[in-house]
Each structure stands twice: as structure tokens, then as C-alpha cells.
Amino acid sequence: MEFAYGLDANPFGILFWGIIVGYVFSTVGAAGAVLTFIGQTVLFKFDKAMIKHLITTGMAESEAKAAAKNTLKVHNLMAVIFSPLIAVPRYFKEKRVAIPLALCVAVGVVAGAVIGPMIPMSMKAYKFWFGVVTFLIGIRLFYETTDYARNKKQKLKNISKKFEEKVKELKKSGNWDELAAEGFKVNNFSISGLKFTFWGEEFSINPMAAALGGFFIAIIASMFGLGGGFLLVPYLSSIFVLPMFVVSGTSITIVLVNSVIAIISYLAKGAQPDLMFMGVMLVGIAIGSFVGPVTQKYYKEKYLRMFLAAILFFYGLRFMGVWAALGIPI
């Protein structure tokens, strides 16, 4: 079947790859964007077909390459944007977004998401850096399968359980306050300090630092066609030491802002997303994400992680050009 921009591919092949992506993402909880990228570039050669097609329509080779690269990024962002698009209105309705914090970070994110797509990067460089990211995710997944990491996780759970039981006892005696869900309230705001109450707890942050962090995260995320959640969540929880219920709603709101601006920027720069291709893949992802947890009980998740880590190592090195440099024709 011929898709837009000259791609000739079997839609069942794309659907099948989508099922694999959804399956892996729903069971392992990682590598969704990376596998989508591998499908587009390695299996279906979407970028090459698009470059060839655009050149035949009279476009210069450099322009065609830039359009194909930007289209890949928009495809990645499209796969990312759906959950924020659905979740953010619900989060606002349920008062789960720390609006003062989100606004501070969003100021930097807007600037970063506009500047990120402007930074020149060739298709080769884009693939190389994507390879680095792929390789690093592979290392992380492999680490999670080791006995050391698994024991560490178990140890944490045991310590937490003991403490939880102790707290329960103390709460029964009436010594602990309950968390109150009452939305947010700004207590004090200046350039150097923002104090706000969210769900009964007071937080104090530096708005300039929040905006600056958002700026750099948005530059990196938009350059690679990513939402930025993988950087925002540790940034908000580690640097600002914010609890999870603040981080979840706030980070997803910021991811939405970043993704929307980056998509508009890339469309303005000549990206031409193929919605039919993405639609077929997304239907596959939807099927795979529901099949995954149902079949999970029939095998050890550790082996799926190890297998995925091996694939990510392999493709990470391929995108970085390591196999080619070693003269291995893969």
C-alpha cells in the first residue's frame, strides 16, 4: 500500500510493529518513543522514502532531508502528546496541577521549545544522538534486570513496609495530620521566591530557577522530538524536592505546552506528518498496550527487559555508526 510521500509499506506490517511497541511499553514502561523511531527509520525507511519523494517533486536535497528529519520529530511528538492532551483538562478539573509552579516552568519551556527546533542538526547528527539515548536506555534496562538492582528494590520495599506499619500505629493515636485536598493558593510571590500551598502543604521555590530549568529541558526535548517528561519528572522531584502528586499533574501540563509549541515550530519548518502511517501504528500501539498486561503472567518480565536491552544496545550502536565504523555490514 502506498502512503503519503512515496512510502510503500504493508499496513499490516506497520500495525504489527505498533502492537510490539504498545506491548513493550505497557509491560516495561519504557522505550516507546525509541521503538517508534526504530520502526520508522529502520523497518519502514520512512525518512528515505520521504527524501526520495520530495526530491522528485523538485525540492533540493538538503531541504528534503531537513523536512524528513523534522517530520520524524513531529511523529515522535505526536505519539507523546496524546496522553497530556487527554489528561491535562482532567487534571485541571481535579485541581491536580500546581499552577504557580507550572507557570514558572512554562515561561522557560515556551522559549526553549521555540529555540530548540531552530538549532541546526543534520539527519546524521540527529540519528547519532538518538543512538546515544537508545544505548543509555538499554543500559538502564539491563541494570534493572541484575540481581543487585532487584535486591536493592526489595530492600527499599521492606524498609518502607516497616515504617508504614509504625506510622499507622502513631496515626491511630492521633499524632499525624491528614492531607487536605484543597487546590492551590499563592502565599507570596516575587522574582526570587514563590511560596504556595497545594493540597494543604506549603512549597517554596525559586521561580527563576524553575524557568531556567524548563528552558534547558525544552531545548533538549524539542531538539530530539521528545515530550521532556523523562527530564521534567526527576528535575521537579529531585531539584525542587516536590512530592509525586505535585509532579504528576504539573509535569504533564508542561509536556503538553512543550510538545504543542515544538510541533507548531516543526510544521512551520516544513515537517509533513503522514497521519495514515501514524494512525495505523497508533491502532497497533493501542492493541499492544492492552494485550501486554494480559499475557505478562506467562513469562518473567526480567527476560523481556533483557531482550529489549539487547535490541536497544544493538540499534543504539547502529545509529551511532559503530557497526559501520567496525566494517560490520548491518
Partner: protein, 152 residues
């Protein structure tokens, strides 16, 4: 202003059909229950880490934060599953329009920034789907069982 009525009708009918189908499927596959369970666990870990912080137990605070992080990741996955079900068929329908029925429905007298020379079939699809959802599906939700999550 001349409206391409035939195209508008075809695209609107497609939008109505896909929106109805998506609402029925996502109600069957709703992740709300799972998300509520996970949010309750996240809140629990948050409260426990706060308690640990209050008594100066830094190691236990970090342990709870880490477990809260893991639950948050599960929450994001559940959210993604829900969202991809709600959006995949719409993207596929938009892809079909992009490939086979890319026509102008309302031409503008002058070019407008971002929209161009007119309102195309893809933008018309989005407007029709959103309007149909809020005007028809939402009011019918309490009355039609198939539009509500399976446990309600």
C-alpha cells in the same frame, strides 16, 4: 462564502461515526479504576515520605519517594493506554482524509495566518468531532450505558 456542502457532510458523518465508536471502545477499556488505585498509592507514599521527613529519616524518605516514582510511571502508562485508545482511530480517520479526501470546505476571501486560504477537510473533521462530542455524546452519557465505563 461558498461552503462545499457535500464534502462537509461526508467529513462530518465520518467524524460522528468515529467519535461514537471511540467513546464506546474507551468506555469498555477505561483505565480510570486503575488510575484511581495508583493515585491512592502515590498519595500514600507521598504522605509516608512526608512522615519520614518529619521524623528526620532521610533514607526512608528517599525509599518512599523512589517507590512513589515507580507508581507514577505506572500511572503514566495507564494514562497513555487510555489516551492512545481515544486518539488512534481519530488519527487514522484524519490520515484517510489526508490521503484520499484532502479538499477545501470553506474557502476564505483572504489568506489567514496559520489557517491558510481556507478551512480544509482535516480541520473540519476536528471541529465536527469536538462539536459532536460536546453537543451529543456528553449529554447522552448518563442515559446510554455503552457510553459509560463498564463498572458504572
Amino acid at each position: 462564502m461558498i461552503i462545499n456542502l457535500k464534502a462537509a457532510l461526508i467529513v462530518s458523518l465520518l467524524a460522528f461515526a468515529v467519535t461514537t465508536l471511540v467513546v464506546i471502545i474507551s468506555a469498555r477499556l477505561s483505565q480510570q479504576k486503575r488510575k484511581d488505585e495508583l493515585m491512592a498509592e502515590i498519595k500514600k507514599y507521598n504522605q509516608l515520605s512526608k512522615d519520614a521527613s518529619d521524623v528526620g529519616a532521610k533514607g526512608i524518605y528517599a525509599a518512599y519517594q523512589k517507590q512513589g516514582n515507580e507508581k507514577l510511571m505506572d500511572y503514566f502508562v495507564a494514562m497513555y493506554k487510555e489516551a492512545v485508545v481515544e486518539m488512534a482511530l481519530h488519527v487514522l480517520a484524519l490520515g484517510m482524509i489526508q490521503r484520499y479526501y484532502f479538499v477545501e470546505i470553506i474557502p476564505f476571501p483572504t489568506s489567514i495566518w496559520f489557517f491558510g486560504d481556507g478551512l480544509g477537510s482535516m480541520a473540519w473533521y476536528v471541529i465536527s468531532a469536538v462539536a459532536f462530542f460536546f453537543a451529543v455524546i456528553k449529554p447522552l452519557k448518563p442515559k446510554v450505558r455503552y457510553f459509560r465505563p463498564y463498572w458504572q
